[in-house]
Symmetry: C2
Subunit: 90 residues, 2 copies
């Protein structure tokens, strides 16, 4: 599930629809910090990221923080179980 600026979206198709409907075509992410921790007995991983977003045609970068909860698959990979995104307004 995804929480994007407070909006809650559940299910992979709904999340893809949301992300592809964002009102810009290009967005450059510059990562400032990445922190990881194991999330418990289910073998998941928490990833906490902060950085800057630069939208095409915009002069100023936007600061953001985002966390992902990655869960293991039986094939030895991971998928995104939780995703929370917030802009950090100055």
């Amino acid at each position: 599930m995804l929480t994007f600026e407070g909006q809650k979206i559940q299910g992979s198709q709904n999340i893809v629809n949301k992300l592809t409907s964002l009102p810009f075509d290009q967005c450059k992410h510059t990562i400032t910090t990445v922190d990881c921790q194991p999330s418990g007995p289910s073998g998941g991983m928490l990833v906490f990221v902060s950085g800057n977003l630069q939208l095409a045609g915009e002069q100023h970068a936007l600061k953001f923080s985002q966390m992902f909860h990655l869960m293991p698959t039986p094939q030895g990979s991971f998928y995104v179980y939780n995703d929370i995104f917030r802009l950090n307004y100055a």
Copy 2:
């Protein structure tokens, strides 16, 4: 476990030692956003917070983001399993 500005600290006693050794006595938290999601089959809860910190004697507030992973106890309560804290420098 706690990741505080990139420093990794494990175990409740070590975390208490870290938090009580921070070089200030008073700190006012102003919460701007709180997002929550269930974290999976183990019954945990992810909490993602952003806001401002005002240290005693400092004129300017510091922006921060922090996430907690709360895990259930058999007594029906929760405890903090993961805690990641970052300041958001402007």
